[in-house]
Each structure stands twice: as structure tokens, then as C-alpha cells.
């Protein structure tokens, strides 16, 4: 990726869209510091990401999680406390409270004993969001947030994300589905190996831009879908 400059403030739900191979995961990996950038810098609250790890949390793509490990919802959310608990130590009462609060916020407290691998795609995403909340992160990144998530679960997930945004958090979610982003997000970052546009979905998702990103074949269907999404 080349020439990537953008910023996302508080109270912002930003959708990152682009065709397959556009670099959505690469961008996210660079933001969270898993990939070193060749030039330039990534700042979280004005500090390099390595010094701001407690502020940032990552909701992984489905295939990046080892589902063979049998984990309860509670245990996964408690992972968010790992750094605060510290090496060699066990969770304290305060950690349990934070986990409980996070689970309540995403509406998963009743499923706290369930195995995460037995949940639906949308419920899993909410559990990982709860883990980010338990960590105390105010910048959340969701990679392919809606893949494998059915419509009803999508609504529940988006409701949670909107609540978190309204509380002042910054949320970046990537999706290959422009319709979702146009529908749910406040801002839209369009990438295709570079930043093509960044702004409110209704301003940036123009036929010209879709042409640039997806080529002539994609424009008709995607533009219709994007506008449909936005009208909902």
C-alpha cells in the first residue's frame, strides 16, 4: 500500500471498503502495529501505536481464530484483562466486574458460560467486542466485521457498535460489502492499494469512485446496492 493518509476522531464509526486484495487487512495490521510501515507513522491519541496498546483492540476475522480451543464466552472476554492482570497473576474482583459490565453492554451476559465456538457469527463478534471493552480500548478495529453474520445478528452487532460510538469510541470496520458500510457507517474510507476517498458515504460513494475501485463490471450493481443501503 502506498500514500495512505487519513484520520478518524472520537464518536466515529468508519467503514473501510475496497475490492479483494485492496489492502484492508494490511491497513489494519499496520494500524495495530503487526506490520511495520516503511514510511510515515501511525498515531493513536497522538502517540505511536507501540506506546498506546491499551487503547487499541482488534476483533479478528473468523479464520484467524483457533476454534479448536474450547473457550467459554467469559474466558474470552477475560482475555481483555490479560495485560492489566499481569504475568503470573490471576483475575481480581475488579477484573470480573469489568468483564461482567462488558458482557452486559453487548447483550451477551446470559451466554457467559456458553462455548464461543457454539455461538452464531454475530454473537461471536459481540463477544470479541466485549473483550475490547473489558480491555478498556477506545479504538476498535473489526476485520471483515459482517462476514458469516446473518441479517438479524448484523442489526444486533451494529446497535452495539452505534452505542459504543455514541460513548466516544472510534471504530473502524472493514467490509468488502459497500452496502453495509453505506448503511451503517458515519464515514467511509475507500481503499485500493491507496486511499481513493474518505468522507461521508453519500459524498464519497460516487459512480466515478466505484469505477476507479471496482472497474466497469462492478459499478452498476455496487452503486445501486450502496444507494439502496443508504436509503434504509
Amino acid at each position: 500500500m502506498d500514500d495512505v493518509t487519513f484520520s478518524a476522531g472520537p464518536n466515529c464509526l468508519m467503514g473501510v471498503v475496497g475490492p479483494n486484495g485492496a489492502g484492508k487487512s494490511t491497513l489494519f495490521n499496520a494500524i495495530v502495529g503487526l506490520l511495520k510501515v516503511d514510511e510515515g507513522e501511525v498515531l493513536i491519541h497522538g502517540t505511536p501505536v507501540d506506546n498506546a496498546r491499551e487503547h487499541i483492540a482488534y476483533v479478528p476475522q473468523h479464520e484467524n481464530v483457533n476454534w479448536r480451543v474450547p473457550m467459554s464466552v467469559w474466558d474470552v472476554v477475560m482475555q481483555g484483562r490479560t495485560k492489566n492482570i499481569g504475568w503470573l497473576r490471576r483475575p481480581k474482583l475488579a477484573d470480573r466486574w469489568l468483564v461482567e459490565e462488558a458482557l452486559e453492554q453487548v447483550g451477551m451476559i446470559d451466554r457467559r458460560s456458553a462455548l464461543v465456538s457454539n455461538l452464531s457469527g454475530g454473537q461471536r463478534q459481540r463477544v470479541f467486542v466485549a473483550r475490547a471493552l473489558a480491555q478498556g480500548a477506545d479504538v476498535l478495529l473489526l476485520d471483515e466485521a459482517f462476514s458469516g453474520v446473518d441479517i438479524a445478528s448484523q442489526e444486533a452487532l451494529v446497535t452495539v457498535l452505534h452505542e459504543l460510538r455514541d460513548q466516544g469510541r472510534t471504530i473502524l470496520l472493514s467490509s468488502h460489502d459497500i452496502g453495509h458500510v453505506a448503511h451503517y457507517c458515519d464515514e467511509c474510507l475507500c481503499i485500493n492499494c491507496r486511499v481513493c476517498a474518505c468522507g461521508a458515504p453519500e459524498d464519497v460513494l460516487t459512480p466515478d469512485l466505484l469505477m476507479e475501485m471496482y472497474g466497469p463490471h462492478g459499478v452498476g450493481s455496487i452503486h445501486g446496492e450502496a444507494l439502496d443501503g443508504h436509503r434504509h
Binding site: G33, V65, N66, V69, P70, M78, I85, W87
Partner: protein
């Protein structure tokens, strides 16, 4: 003494059987705890490769044991070194992971076999190296096995939540700032140490059975990773003790009998799991 008491306690009037029991129980506990990670991380082939690659070290240690005070002084560093090398190769060569490991382990195993046949008058038989010789362990072997087991257990307990996190969601753990690569290598090092301990009981060829079979059986029976480790340790210990008894009373090689016991436990666990799934399915249908 009645017959049953005689059958249970009789073997332990011999010192070698007491030592064998102690080592077997430690192997039975340690292998499935590490094995839980091996199963969920899909490290079976790597583990088998690591066990085979220790053969040259075993032969060299046997050759120079008269010069140094204990063969463990060579065995432990050798195992740790190969754990790190295998871990490095699996991540860094352009070849696929199983190809790199296959090349390394076959080469080293062949080197070990060649050394073993070339070194005449060596006090180590191929059979005992391949299949284990738990009845031949010395007092100092028991002591060192216990110390190594305690070190491994303490490290695993201390790093449990970090190790489980990086096994379940390596990316999320890295983003949080956990040193996931270091944890990966540490896991391999602990695995190598446990393989070394287990070699005494079940030998190079069957180490894999004690590492993955009880752990896999436990994961069929439980729905929590930590609980699976404990249940696995129970199954591993039972397999080791049953194996030891059968080998004493029926004059069989102890390693293979331990491995067979573990396999039997796995079959029972599988049957139980299938049975409960079927009953659950029937109940769900009758409610519907």
C-alpha cells in the same frame, strides 16, 4: 496377602518398579498437559519430528556418559536446541512446515541410527531407545525427571492465561502486546523437555501416543480447555499405571502397553461422546 493385594502391591517390593512407577506417573501427568496444546495447535507432526530428532543426542550422551557426570547434561540442552531449530524452520524456510520438519527429523533420526550401529559396545539397545525402558531408570533419573516436571508445571501455570490467549487468538494477543513468538518458542522448549522425560517410559516411536491420545480423549469428554488438561492428566496417569502393571504381570514391553491403554481410553471416550450425541439427538427429536 490375598491375591488382589498381591497383584497391586507385589510389584513394588522391587526398587526398580517403584522408580518406574514414579517416572510413569510423571510422564502420565506431564504429557497430556502439554498435549492439550499439541492437539489444538495441530503440532502432532512437529512433536513426532522433535522426538525423532533427539536420537543422535541420546547416542552421544550414552557414549560420553562415563566422562560427564550425567547424560542429562547433554540431553536437556540438545532437546532445547532442537526445539528452537524446529520452531525456526517451521516459520522461516520457504518450504512448507511439514516438509522442513520432515527433512530435519528424518536426517537426524538416520544420523542417530547410524551412530548407534557404528558405536560398538554401547550400553544402549535400539529397542530401549525406540520403545522406552522404564524398568531401567536410575534413582538420579527419577530425581531429574521430577525436577524437570516441576519446572515445566510452574512455567505452564505461571503463563497459562497468556499461553491460552496466544493459542486461541494469536493476532489479538499480539495486538495486545503479548510476545506471541516468544511464547510459541517457549511452548516448543517445554514440549522438548517433556518428550525427553517421556522417552524413558515410551521411547521415541510412541512418545506421540502419550502426548496426543490422552489429551484428545479429554477434549472429547470436556468443554473447557483447562479442564481438558486436568482430565487428560488423569487419563495419562491411568494409562501409564495400567501399562506398567500389565507389563510386569504379563512380561510385556511397558511402553507399547502404556500406549495401548491410552488408545483404549480414547476409544471409550469416543464411544461415550458418540453415545451422548445420539441420545441428545433423540431427545431433541422427541421434544420437537
Amino acid at each position: 496377602m490375598d491375591i488382589v493385594t498381591e497383584a497391586i502391591l507385589g510389584p513394588f517390593q522391587y526398587g526398580f518398579m517403584v522408580r518406574a512407577l514414579l517416572v510413569s506417573v510423571l510422564v502420565g501427568i506431564m504429557c497430556p498437559i502439554l498435549g492439550a496444546y499439541v492437539v489444538v495447535r495441530g503440532l502432532g507432526f512437529m512433536t513426532d519430528g522433535l522426538a525423532h530428532s533427539l536420537l543422535p543426542g541420546l547416542v552421544v550422551a550414552a557414549l560420553v556418559v562415563s566422562v560427564i557426570s550425567s547424560s542429562w547434561l547433554i540431553l536437556v540442552p540438545n532437546a532445547i536446541a532442537f526445539a528452537l531449530i524446529i520452531g525456526f524452520l517451521s516459520k522461516r524456510t520457504g518450504l512448507s512446515e511439514d516438509t522442513s520438519i520432515g527433512i530435519l527429523f528424518a536426517g537426524l533420526f538416520a544420523l542417530g541410527l547410524t551412530l548407534l550401529t557404528a558405536a560398538r559396545g554401547l550400553n544402549v539397545s535400539l529397542e530401549s531407545v525406540l520403545l522406552g525402558q522404564v524398568l531401567g531408570v536410575s534413582r538420579s533419573d527419577v530425581m531429574i525427571t521430577a525436577v524437570l516436571a516441576v519446572v515445566v508445571i510452574v512455567l505452564l501455570l505461571a503463563l497459562h492465561k497468556e499461553m491460552v490467549f496466544s493459542t486461541f487468538d494469536p493476532l489479538g494477543a499480539s495486538v495486545m502486546g503479548l510476545p506471541t513468538q516468544v511464547l510459541d518458542y517457549l511452548l516448543l522448549v517445554l514440549l522438548a523437555v517433556v518428550i525427553l522425560i517421556a522417552l524413558q517410559a515410551v521411547g521415541i516411536v510412541l512418545v506421540i501416543s502419550m502426548l496426543i491420545t490422552p489429551a484428545a480423549a479429554a477434549q472429547l469428554l470436556t468443554q473447557r480447555f483447562t479442564l481438558a488438561m486436568l482430565v487428560g492428566a488423569g487419563i495419562g496417569t491411568a494409562s501409564a499405571i495400567i501399562g506398567l502393571y500389565l507389563s510386569f504381570h504379563y512380561n510385556l514391553a511397558s511402553g507399547p502397553v502404556m500406549a495401548l491403554s491410552a488408545t483404549a481410553f480414547f476409544v471409550v471416550a469416543l464411544a461415550l461422546k458418540q453415545g451422548t450425541a445420539r441420545i441428545g439427538g433423540r431427545m431433541a427429536r422427541s421434544h420437537a
